[in-house]
Structures are given as structure tokens and as C-alpha cells.
Assembly symmetry: C2
Homo-oligomer: 208 residues x 2
């Protein structure tokens, strides 16, 4: 077993495989952004990435998955950030912290362009919503791991649902924001309003 300088056991095979995957991703993304998702065929992607059409499917199960593959990182980051909070921190705060952290670290040039692409491609919109559902599921898991009492299950489930709902709304709001706004400022301000509004809803919904 050959070893690379940094000690990782990465043979020629996994190197080439990783590079090929990156080439495909790069090719696909640039084509999608150039001429749109629907107007790009897999054969064009394969050609630009210098692989066969058949090999494309060795790396990605579908055209859509290329767009969403990178987003696994967001969920992982979120989970880690939540897990890193002290156990006696209220769940609500832990979620807020985790989300802001994950959002800030994920929001770059490419992500914005991606968002635009998704927003204007119906086929991707559906898949995008599924992403939120998966995120909600993972968030629920992460929160369950923190909660001591077992009866908190429902609360935790609801917190995840509500917060992911807020995330979607925030995403829309953000995309309507004048450019130049600081994402971090926006996020903090949003959460400030959010909890306040939530308390109002809760009170109105109960007795009044």
C-alpha cells in the first residue's frame, strides 16, 4: 500500500477518482450556469469532463444530484455546531447558534449562483424542498441527542419544524435583500425578530 506524504492511505485509484468527480462537478456546474439546467445534457457534461456518458452515472446517480451533492456539508456543519454547545444551553439557543454558524460558513459566491439556478428551475425546486425536509430530520436527531427527558420529543420535533420553516423564509428574505448587506448581521437580526414574533403567535394562539 503506497502512502502519500501526508500519511493518508490514498492510492492512485482514489486520487484519480476524486479528481474525476471534481471534474464532472465543475463541468456540470459551469454548463448549468452558462445555459441553464434543462438545456444541458448529460452528454455535454460528460464531454467537458472528458469521461463517457456512462461514467457520469458512476459518480452521480442523476443530473440533479450534482447540484445538491455539496449541500451535505451544510447539514454536517449544523450537527457539529449544535453538538458543540454546552449541554445546559437551551435548545433554542443551540439551534440558533448552529444555524448562523452553518449559514455563514456555507454562503459563498458559488452558493448564491446555485440558489439562483435552483430558484429559476422548476425541476430543481422540488428537489430543493426535499433538502429542507432532510435537514429537518437531521436537526430533530441532533436535538433529541441533547434532550434529557423523553417527553421532550414532541417539543424537539416542533422546534425543528418551526426553525426550518424560518430558515426557508429567511432564505427568501435574504435573496430580496439589497446587495452589500452583511449576512451575519442579517441573520442575527432575523433571529431577534423571529423569537419575538414566535412568542406573540404563541400568546395569541393560546388564551389571548
Amino acid at each position: 500500500m503506497t502512502r502519500t506524504t501526508d500519511g493518508a492511505k490514498e492510492g492512485r485509484r482514489e486520487i484519480k477518482r476524486r479528481q474525476t468527480r471534481e471534474r464532472i462537478e465543475e463541468a456540470a456546474m459551469s454548463l448549468f450556469l452558462e445555459r441553464g439546467f434543462d438545456a444541458t445534457t448529460i452528454e455535454e457534461i460528460a464531454e467537458r469532463a472528458e469521461v463517457s456518458k456512462r461514467s457520469f452515472f458512476d459518480y452521480f446517480p442523476s443530473k440533479e444530484e450534482v447540484v445538491f451533492a455539496w449541500q451535505d456539508g451544510f447539514a454536517d456543519h449544523l450537527m457539529a455546531a449544535i453538538a458543540s454547545r454546552p449541554a445546559d444551553d437551551p435548545a433554542v439557543k443551540a439551534v440558533q447558534h448552529g444555524l448562523v454558524s452553518a449559514i455563514v460558513s456555507a454562503a459563498d459566491e458559488r452558493a448564491m449562483a446555485l440558489g439562483e439556478l435552483i430558484r429559476r428551475t422548476p425541476a430543481l425546486k422540488a428537489r430543493d424542498q426535499l433538502k429542507y425536509a432532510k435537514l429537518e430530520l437531521k436537526l430533530t436527531e441532533a436535538l433529541k441527542a441533547r434532550s434529557r427527558s423523553d417527553e421532550e420529543r414532541l417539543r424537539v420535533r416542533l422546534l425543528a419544524a418551526v426553525v426550518i420553516g424560518a430558515l426557508r423564509a429567511a432564505g427568501e428574505l435574504w435573496s430580496e435583500q439589497p446587495p452589500g448587506t452583511s449576512l451575519e448581521t442579517f441573520a442575527h437580526q432575523f433571529f431577534g425578530d423571529f423569537w419575538k414574533t414566535l412568542a406573540d403567535f404563541g400568546n395569541e394562539g393560546q388564551g389571548r
Copy 2:
């Protein structure tokens, strides 16, 4: 222009068209439930509905749309129910009323089977999530129409997001419920818990 007894101007054309549409829907649903969504081809649907494959696409833009077509009714019902509430009713209460009303009227045998089908068909899950997004959009509209002040926009947007989040969570909860439970009871109880929990979240998120 021929007129039918009830005065509606429905000629042979629209009658046949409506019947054909129903036949296709019926054929598709029964096949989906029999052998699953993926294992059913459009040609099989067309055959059972006694139309050509090409005609199928004259009635539905895609295989998936057959499954989700009927659900437009839910959104319409919800909108109507909300609009029918007195204008000085708090938005929160109007939404609760509208949702319970729409849910109760939509939940029948067929809807349950549909839910099951969607739950076990990945391709449909994504599309299902999109349905919630659309619902959220419509709900936002309906609420905007009620709100006087213009600054309530954000609140309204958030209420829609949060409530639809809750709806998804409630749906999951309901499908885990022991059979025989009354849907109406469940819904009311759920909302009771929900507003209370929301208030807690709001308070925890703010001060502390």
C-alpha cells in the same frame, strides 16, 4: 349553444373531456396502489383508461401530476376558510380554524392511501415537499389580504412558514397515531400544544 338542464353550458365536448380525465385519474391511482408508482408505466395507465399514451399528456403534464392534481382542492378550501373569518379575528386563530377545517374535509380513505404511496416513493417525496411550499405561498397571500398594516408583511410570512412547518410535523405525528383516533380531536389537541410550545420557544429565544 346547447344547454344542459341545470343551465351550465357544458357541451358533449367538456363532458367527455371531464370523463376521460376522471378515467385516467382512476386508472393511474389504482395501478399505483396495486403495483407502486415506479413499476407503473404510462402506457399501462393509458391502456386501462382506454386512451393513447399521447393523450395521457393532453390531460396531465407528467406522471407525478396525477398524484398531486387533487390536492389543489386543499389549498382552495384553506383559503376560503380563512377568508370567511371575521376581519378582527387574530390571524393566528384564523389560520388554525382554516387548517383544521381543510384537514378534516380532505382526510378520507383515498387520501390516506395516497399518503402511504408518497411516503414510500422517493420520487414523489420531493414533489410532495413542493406542495407544502406552494401551500405556504398561498397561505401567505391569504394572510396578507387580511392584514391591514403593511409592516405586518414579515409577521405574516413567518406565520405561514411556522404553521406549514407544524402541518408537516403534525402529518408525521398523525401517521404514527394508533388507528381509531379522531382526526378532529387530534388536530385540536395538537394546536393546543403547539401555541403553548411556540410561546416557550419565543421566550427562551429572547431574554434569558
